[in-house]
Amino acid sequence: MIDAFPPSLIFILGALLIPIFKGKQKQAYLLFVAVVAFIDILCLKAGTGWIFHFLSYELVLLKVDRLSLAMGYIFAFIALMAILYSLHVKEDGQHMAAFLYIGSALGVVFAGDYFSLFVYWEIMAVTSVFLIWYRREKASLDAGFRYVLMHILGGCCLLTGIVLHVVSNGSITIGPLGGGGWTSLFIVIGFGLNTAFLPLHTWLPDAYPLGTVTGSVFLSVFTTKTGVYTLARCFAGNEFVAYMGGAMAVFGIVYALLQNDIRKLISYHIISQVGYMVAGIGMGSELGVNGAMAHLINNILYKTLLFMCTGSVIYMTGKRKLTELGGLARMMPVTCITCLIASLSISGAPGFNGFISKGIVILAAMKSHRALLELLLWLASVGTFLSFTKLFYFTFVAKSEKIKTEETLPNMQWAMVITALPCVLIGIYPKLLFSILPHPADYHPYTLSHIIGVLQLFLFAGLVFMVAIRAYSPHPWLVLDFDYFYRMAFSGIRWVCGPLNFLRLRVQASFSKTVGYFVCLSRNPFALSELSGEYKQSNPESTFCNKTGWGYNENIHRKPMGLGVLLAILFLFFYGLFYILTS
């Protein structure tokens, strides 16, 4: 009897059957698969696993411990909520991409070896881009290509690191990589790109705001969080990682404060919030890692909720810029209240989940005597509060005569309300969160000094905001990020490549012509006489190849090539199947 089944396979296999169903049946099926995967994860017990022997390696498709279980719970819950939120979407392709994306993210979480992790990692990159492209706008298409390009770069680095690790250690088991050297460098770049390390973060605020309304909800959950998770597995206690976290936290909020697009604003906040997690992992203490994981779980809850709320606003109004929005509180009360809950949670207000996890990460920085890191994290807290005051104020409170709309679709409302509940529940009863953390948690968040300290911070930052509201007001501008340098570099490469490509084409053409002559001659050596000067002079338009009919025909030559490739793939598939069944 199977006592543990990989939840990733439930989503991946479930994705294949989506086109079979139509209408209400499809909606029921989507929820059914998500519920089955959730129950499967609830039934998993630490210590269980799925191991395959392939060549001389052990592929661990399922490795369950407290860390992977905590990730699994939150991924499965939020996947269910995101699917509920996207039930109204008619395109099967979008649902399939989302399912494959969720499945591969769960695959990364439960993978016990680097090869399985890498395969799932790449599936995640490829499937997630369709959630951007399904928006079917030129800007989304371009952003999707940039997203894929960056992730291919990250994937190459990760694969290089893994190969170096396997060559030097002979083991593919995932474990701490504290040794430094090229192996660690390549792997940390691979993981860091998904985690939005500076300056590799540009794909995130570029692509996430341009995804579909529902696609961005999925995107906000999995890619960066699997990055954080893999860092926790391999790079806990790394000083570089800790300070990278601090830098990300501050950089994210500075850029978030400058944004006009509501989804771009919260995309920059992903970088900032992930910074807290990365800082916690980098500190490496039990408190730090617990704080990082607690913040990861809480962040998934309120960040998903924020993407749901902003998605609802965009879905109903068609507008996504703060300068065009305002006064939605009365027209969209459910969205407004849930957005307020999410804003208070991300700001770390007492009574909400962010208060608990932010407190743990900052306490870990204090206890490890990292004064600079502590100050950076405090500064990021101030910025978070200010930018969500700005988001909430200019979307829901500030007066706008232009917009007339109503509350969003019922499935979206339900998803928002259910996602908002744990934000409050964990805030009121933190033991709920502590029970699933990887290390025993001995932390009391509700002390008088902590509550008053946070209230002081909010009140004084709020006072500055109200006094200097013009300085924080949104502007219709584009703020250049590091991607400006990447674009310049690529423009330079393209400039250099232009003449080189021309030269390549000329050389290729002349070689092709020569090879063509030889091919024709080998088939008809008597045609050599036709190459003589006399023949050419008398028949200037005719070449002997055209005459003999051996020119390249795309339609004729592609078919046998395609058939050959297909047969090779089929052979490999059946060989692999046979190998797995017999081993």
């Binding site: 500075v254 502590e374 405090w378 008088l448 002081q456 009140l459 930052a461 109200m466 200097a468």
Partner: protein, 69 residues
């Protein structure tokens, strides 16, 4: 609404500073953790610092929305 929020903040902010004198930091490590108005200081100075930083970044990097088009 805006005026009401501002007045509310003006009333509550000094009260929060007063409240700071009734609690001590349980996990104090550095000298600034003993300040009873640390949160207020971080909030106000942080907001001002961020305001300066975002204005500086905007002066350097803000372009028209169709800059890349």
């Amino acid at each position: 609404m805006k005026r009401f929020c501002k007045r509310l903040l003006i009333v509550l902010a000094p009260l929060a500073v007063l409240g700071g004198f009734f609690g001590h930091h349980e996990y104090a490590v550095f000298w600034w953790h003993h300040l009873s108005f640390l949160g207020a200081l971080v909030g106000a100075l942080g907001a001002l610092l961020l305001m300066v930083v975002i204005r500086w970044v905007a002066s350097l990097a803000a372009k028209k929305e169709d800059f890349y088009d």
